[in-house]
Amino acid sequence: MPQHDPYIVVPRDAIDKIAASALSGGALVLRRVPADNMYVVRTVETAKDMRLPADIPGEYVALRSGDPHHAAQWIRVAANDAQIHHLFLSRRPQAFIEFAKFKEMVPGVSDPGNGLGIVITHDPDLPPELVEAGALEFAGWAVRRSGVHPIHIEVEPEVIGLEQLTGKWPIEQLAANSVMVVGCGSIGSAAAEALAGFGVGRVELLDPDRFLWHNMLRHALGTESVGRYKVAAMKDHLARRWPEQTVVAHQLDVVADAHYARPIVDRVDLVLCAADGIAPRRVVSHLARRANKPAILACVLDNGSIGEVIRLRPTPRFGCLLCLRQHLAAQGAMDAEADQELDYGTGRVHQPMAAVPPDLRQVGTFAAKVAVATLLESLHGDHTQRIPGEHAVIGLRPTGDLAAPFNVGEVGDVRWSSIPGPRPSCATCSAE
């Protein structure tokens, strides 16, 4: 079938109506979408003079648009040659059947006059060997007096969405898991989308801010969400794309509302923190460790030149964020955070963000990958999801002059290292 031939799209509901009809054939009304050279089945004659609309969910905007009322037919064919002819003709470009021959093979086909008739043939008893060979239960035909050509039919599958990955990706296991995402900015929104795409069953979003014009450059959300709370807009955004996932929106600040965040940490399997700022990351590090939950922290450092993803595990071998930061400061790898923190809460605006949108998306997606891998390795014994360390540095626009372990030299390089154990005096890591 050449690329410029029309294309018939059959919604599931229309398929069900044809299959269930007691008639041996009937009328169809198609909608034509000229820009995409596509016909969509909209109405099916299911009983004598009874025409029922085929249901198409509202979000399938393209399938609901176009010019109405292109008359067509569906015809049930006995186990004869129509579907196998369709198969063979489809494989030979320009091949066609004479109209008279087609009429013999598919009785009941209307004469198209000087126009184009469209016919869908249905063989409910297609032998398995023909199915094996590639023949289809439903086949489409462009019927002209000059000849009948096969047309491709795309039938809405029974299974769409993540369920298609059943058996190939542990979707059932992840559907039972939950992650709290702290911070729904550029990195957080990318992480939340990725968690949904991996199939994490429940995500609890936490962010106090509104989505405003200046956010739009780097965010998963767009113009439609300007003015809304980020968590509420993200919840709607994810619900449209990933309806199988549960999203809970909390319009909270993890620092100011830590007492509200605590019970959320208790009920999730893992915390992913993509909050912009040192204080929220410290609070997450503390809350997660006290709740005995792993935490993944993601950010960009040094004006967006490198990404950083840290996996904090609440165990005797691994320290918390503060333990790591003090260790890095002591070895001269990092500026003491006390200075940086002066910017927060002193009324000064944040530094303008220098990172480029896809770099932030990459860091967010990477953090989600680390989160999901952690769940799969620790809770589900998935050996394909092991991580080489606890601290990843990702080259985004690396200058090559940073101290280890931040000394990635090339774009796309990911440098993994471990993190030190708890400091004896650490208030977060020491026993309650």
Binding site: T315, R317, F318, L379, G381, D382
Partner: protein
């Protein structure tokens, strides 16, 4: 021989011999019935791996908990001498009821000695290295938990062995190979060069042995998750959160090494099976479980050696749509 066949055969090896299981049950029932008739005994609870169905061959002991009536022993359950008193009392009652020379209920126990928590009763020749014993542990029931004497600390401690029994039963109801698989994991532990208590494996299994996949996959998943957990420096503690660490003297460094080796071989076995290389899969499972795991068939119709050394697999470039 398929991988499943190999596991079924190995399960037979791991499962305790049925006659010794019957003997163990008979000995447990002897204690249950003898003590159950005592005026100051409220109930006799079967405990230990036999009660959980997770015993492996050979059976070393069977555990019973004699729950005494607090009213009959008002001074028990408080710090001091009463811990030793309770153990002494239990030992005396064992001798009176079941002593081999003049037991009133049955003449069965040749020697009874008390240890930290329980009275160890020898029904076989105490010098027989294969003798298995009945451990009778006195206890009081308080707030749904058991209070047991601890001779060393001269105190009584809470414990909840019934919690583990109930948890194992729950898992076994979800997957009828759970208990058998735990026996295999205990077998694995016994094969290691470092001392790993059976109970450590049982408790790890509660957390990390899944119940919704087949036996080889479940064991592979167990080793991956358990290794992750122990590598993090975590301890294995009483699942009822009462008695703390199960084996305080375990060498965690050695345990991690053992788990890591098992994990890596289990992954190789799992991947070999996924690649339809049954011979290699069975060979790698043998490296996990030791010499008693069935050997892969020596030769096949294929003239090539049955087991090729595992070489890196070439990558596939398939369209993903």
């Amino acid at each position: 021989m398929s991988v499943t066949d190999a596991f079924n055969t190995f399960q037979e090896v791991v499962n305790a011999d049925i006659t010794s299981v019957r003997e163990a049950r008979a000995r447990r029932d002897l204690f249950k019935n003898a003590f159950g008739a005592e005026d100051d005994v409220k109930e006799v609870v079967a405990s230990g791996s036999l009660a959980r169905g997770t015993h492996k061959d050979p059976i070393h002991d069977v555990d019973v908990i004699v729950v005494f009536d607090q009213d009959a022993h008002p001074d028990w359950g408080t710090p001091g001498d009463s811990a030793a008193d309770a153990l002494n009392y239990t030992r005396e009652r064992v001798n009176t009821l079941l002593g081999s020379t003049n037991g009133t209920y049955d003449k069965a126990v040749r020697l009874a000695r008390w240890r930290n928590h329980a009275v160890k009763c020898f029904l076989d020749d105490p010098d027989d290295p294969n003798a298995f014993t009945v451990d009778a542990m006195p206890a009081l029931r308080r707030d749904g938990k058991l209070l047991i004497p601890e001779a060393l600390s001269e105190d009584w401690v809470s414990c909840d062995p019934e919690f583990l029994i109930a948890e194992v039963a729950k898992r076994h109801a979800a997957w009828n190979k759970f208990a058998g698989t735990v026996r295999m994991l205990k077998w694995w532990a016994a094969e290691q060069d470092t001392k790993i208590k059976s109970l450590v494996m049982e408790v790890l299994a509660l957390d990390f042995l899944p119940t919704d996949v087949n036996q080889p996959a479940a064991i592979k998943q167990f080793f991956v998750s358990a290794c992750y957990y122990i590598e993090g420096g975590n301890e294995v503690v009483d699942p009822a959160y009462l008695c703390g660490p199960i084996q305080p003297d375990v060498d965690y460094g050695e345990l991690v090494e053992c788990l890591r080796a098992a994990r890596d071989n289990a992954i190789k076995a799992f991947q070999a099976q996924a690649n339809n290389d049954t011979g290699s899969a069975i060979k790698y499972w043998g490296e996990v479980f030791g010499d008693d795991f069935p050997k892969p068939p020596a030769s096949t119709a294929n003239p090539a050696p049955a087991i090729l050394p595992a070489t890196p697999r070439p990558v596939k470039d398939t369209p993903q749509g």
